[in-house]
Symmetry: C2
Subunit: 197 residues, 2 copies
């Protein structure tokens, strides 16, 4: 007995990640009854984002420009290229204020179970970007999940084969970490990757 | 370093209930990178819903008509009026196939802590609806949460004062329920509300 327009809204809300039928229904009712201004704002924001945002020709993140501000900034060190999975990871790296190189955003990771292989990730674009003679080092900053590790391994092989220096961000105990409360896998890694004190 | 259009999308997504900053960012990236068609569909669905849906003049649920199909159906029993909190609750009642009366949807419940009182719920509209001489019984089917119970109590007093017969849906053990695995509050209620076997 729902109307077609309402059914369509509930169904369209399910294109959002991890929104199931119950949540979608709750969202639709909330917007219609309590926040019509918010719904209107969201519709406009979606439209604007779709027409104005695309992937940066250099780093692949979202931008309104052909090449994003960061990639065209003369203050960034063009000799370092840091590979991350998502724009959110890029923002986290920036918030450390300890990296001034450039980035390449994969917009995903190799995940065979989800049908995402090197081809789907368009890794040819990373190869092209890394072929820039200014690049001296490629820093792999994919996650330390199974998929992130597999992606780093694959990228490492691929980039080294082209004569590039490739590094991986370090794995070990977190800042403030105590051995007693750290998982044994992390401790084992920290031990095998120990460095001169 | 996010662009304005992207920031606005992330921020607009937060008008959805229980979507925080991290989820909003994840949703925005997902739509832009993986499901532009879905984002477009959502933008249109929101626009359509906002222009075409409003509250039914009789039962207050969402409809494209002045009076919804259910309220104008000659096959529904106009002597019973069931009060529910949300359109979702109405759908659940319908799915039981054991009610053929009409509804009134509160679109919320009395929740003083959230600033929702009888006035904000527009209970005058329910009073007006229940004043229809065809109505013989008002069935309160608000939730058995604290707010739902308080709402039922308030509505009961209000409607009885106007000479209407008011009932409350039963509380007790669920179908298939075992005493050993039921909370004591529910068992106590089931005991005090026992009926001839």
């Amino acid at each position: 007995m729902n109307t077609g327009v309402l059914d369509e809204l509930v169904s369209a809300l399910r294109c959002l990640p991890s929104v199931g039928p119950k949540s979608a229904q709750r969202m639709a009712f909330h917007l219609l009854q309590r926040d019509r201004a918010g719904a209107d704002r969201l519709a406009r924001a979606l439209g604007d984002a779709l027409t104005r945002l695309h992937n940066c020709a250099r780093c692949n993140t979202f931008t309104e420009l052909e090449v994003c501000e960061r990639c065209s900034s003369p203050r960034r060190d063009a000799s370092q290229l840091c590979v991350v999975e998502t724009p959110a990871d890029m923002l986290m790296m920036e918030q450390t204020h300890s990296y001034s190189g450039l980035y390449f955003c994969l917009m995903g990771r190799i995940a065979p179970l989800e049908g995402v292989g090197p081809k789907e990730l368009r890794l040819d674009r990373l190869l092209e970007r890394a072929a820039d003679p200014a690049v001296r080092e490629v820093i792999l900053a994919t996650n330390f999940t199974n998929e992130g590790e597999a992606t780093a391994h694959y990228l490492g092989e691929m980039l080294r084969a082209r004569g590039l220096a490739v590094t991986r961000i370090a794995r070990g105990l977190p800042v403030g970490g105590e051995l007693e409360h750290t998982d044994i896998g992390t401790i084992a890694q920290a031990l095998s990757e120990r460095r001169p004190a």
